[in-house]
């Protein structure tokens, strides 16, 4: 079992979702995040002073998958989330010991 985590631009969420559906991944968990990196945020003005927001809105996606699917899933996400501009984000893959489906108590691959 693997956990693939992706930090992407928010407006790419829909395309990533579709790409994952297309390769048979029907579940994921999404949350909000802020990214700090090469990409700079927008500028805000307040009482004549100018600020650059250095945290940029991002979306985090977590997908639990079978170990064998790891590369396919990572590639699908990268392909769908890419705009080619700075700040497109990162995707990484980590080992997972066990997964349980809360509803049934099923473990491992059956839990996905």
């Amino acid at each position: 079992m693997k956990l693939v985590t992706a930090i992407i631009k928010p407006f790419k969420l829909d395309e990533v979702k579709q790409a994952l559906e297309a390769i048979g991944v029907h579940g994921m968990t999404v949350s909000e995040a802020s990214g700090y990196g090469r990409q700079r945020g927008h500028t805000e003005v307040y009482r004549g002073a100018e600020y650059t927001v250095d945290l940029v809105p991002k979306v985090r996606i977590e997908v639990l998958i079978e170990a064998d699917d790891a590369d396919r899933v990572v590639d699908a996400i990268v392909a769908a989330a890419q705009t080619g501009r700075i700040g497109d984000g990162k995707v990484w893959c980590q080992p997972v010991d066990t997964v349980v489906r809360v509803r049934t108590g099923e473990r491992g691959v059956d839990a996905l």
Binding site: P10, K12, L13, E15, V30, S31, E32
Partner: protein
């Protein structure tokens, strides 16, 4: 009376006051709406907005007539003003003639008929079927509010007959302590009993989701209440000025009373307390505003603030879920105000009034006031209980447990109040919402752009 006798100043004030009172109902919607949890704020506000709609329409067809139509009864009016089809030139008569257009009087009184049932809605937050609420409002105003308004506010026809029985009995209620607040408070208690407690009552804090909105509501209520109280003079005169001043200073006193209780009891004075205290003061001074001196108004307000601050805890003790404290604020505050007149009332400020206990008037006025207050309380409570159970047994009044847990905004209105956050509010809605087949009905969501 000739049309040339219209007094433009009186009319100007009654028109302005009517608009101010209308604004109170949206104000109430925000006051209540901010106090609910975020998953049920829209339903709370919708209950107020739809009440404006329903009551206004009924008012045209028979409401105004039932309350103020020319008849012989002390219990209700008649149907002779149905349709409000009068020409623009009719003037007003209510006990004495008023040099203002009849339609301005009808509009002013309409706003009272609107806000009264809206007040009730706070008692049943988060859990009432919207359709059942609409039916309830229509029935309730027809058999409770319109008659009670006649009892209290109708001072009789030109032939000297037809005054409401409480008005005739000399009950002093300048702007609706009985007909509006005690009435709504008692009905709120009845409905809270009919609908039962919310899931999680006495376990979850259920704290206000948006106190800014509560304060916006309180601010608009305070503003509008000047129309409510001072407008009840039906003219721009000294009585209106007295009512205005008393409204302000009683409310001030009540903010103080409530915050002091909080400070002593909880060690913190809260903004919810300030807002609630203001409303409690406004409620209590409503019947009294034209019968007492300003210093007495401060005292009445302070008392109302302090007493209501303590009364809102009752529901936990007695285990009824008056969710937003309609009983603790409107029923209790209304009683404080109505009975206080029996003590503080004085002819010194208003020759048309009576002297109360503190002005050597003895207990007479207090007795009359108690009769007025408890008559309305009992009638409203009993009839509302009957209406409520009738609706509960026939169409059902409460939403399902699951719907309540998920949130009534979504289950009854298919809406959620806020889309503020980065994911769902980012405007990349396409990424988050999937359109069902239904959408094809108007073709609206094939890719475009």
């Amino acid at each position: 009376m000739d049309v040339s006798e219209i007094n433009t100043g009186d009319t100007a004030w009654v028109l302005a006051a009517s608009a101010m009172v209308l604004l109170m109902t949206p104000g109430l919607a925000f006051f209540y709406g901010g106090m609910t949890r975020s998953k049920s704020t829209l339903n709370m506000m919708m209950m107020s907005f739809v009440t404006i709609g329903i009551v206004s329409v009924l008012w045209v067809f028979y409401g105004f007539s039932l309350a103020f139509g020319v008849g012989d009864s002390g219990w209700f009016g008649s149907f002779d003003l149905s349709g409000l089809g009068s020409s623009v030139n009719s003037l007003t008569f209510n006990g004495t003639p008023y040099p203002i257009p009849l339609l301005s009087f009808a509009a002013f009184q309409l706003m009272f008929a609107v806000i009264t049932p809206a007040l009730i809605s706070g008692a049943i937050a988060d859990r009432a079927r919207f359709v059942s609420w609409c039916v309830f409002v229509g029935v309730w105003v027809s058999i409770v509010y319109f008659p009670v308004a006649h009892w209290v506010f109708d001072f009789g026809n030109a032939d000297g007959k037809g005054a409401g029985w409480l008005a005739a009995a000399g009950v002093e209620d300048f702007a609706g302590g009985t007909a509006v607040h005690i009435n709504a408070g008692a009905a709120g208690l009845a409905l809270a009993i009919v609908l039962g407690r919310r899931v999680g009552f006495r376990r979850d804090p259920m704290r206000p989701h948006n106190l800014s909105l509560v304060l916006v509501g309180a601010g608009l209520l305070w503003f509008g209440w000047f129309g409510f109280n001072a407008g009840s003079a039906l003219g721009a005169n000294g009585l209106a000025a007295l009512a205005f001043m008393n409204t302000q200073v009683a409310t001030a006193g009540a903010v103080g009373g409530w915050l002091l209780v909080e400070r002593v009891r909880d060690k913190h004075a809260t903004s919810l307390g300030a807002a609630s205290g203001a409303v409690a003061g406004l409620v209590a001074i409503t019947p009294a505003c034209a019968f007492v001196a300003p210093w007495a108004a401060v005292v009445i307000g302070f008392l109302a603030g302090a007493v209501c601050a303590m009364a809102v805890g009752l529901k936990y003790k007695l285990n009824y879920d008056d969710s937003l404290d309609v009983v603790g604020v409107h029923l209790v505050g209304g009683l404080v105000g109505c009975l206080a007149i029996g003590f503080f009332g004085t002819k010194a400020v208003n020759a048309a009034g009576k002297d109360g206990v503190f002005y050597k008037g003895g207990l007479e006025l207090l007795g009359i006031q108690a009769k007025g207050a408890f008559s309305v309380l009992a009638f409203s409570f009993v009839v509302t209980l009957i209406i409520g159970f009738a609706i509960e047994k026939t169409m059902g009044f409460r939403i399902s447990r699951d719907a309540e847990l998920e949130g009534i905004d979504v289950s009854e209105h298919a809406e959620s109040a806020y889309e503020l956050d980065g994911v769902t509010g980012s405007g990349f809605g396409g990424g988050l919402a999937m359109v069902t087949g239904k959408m094809t009905r108007n073709d609206s969501v094939e890719g475009t752009a």
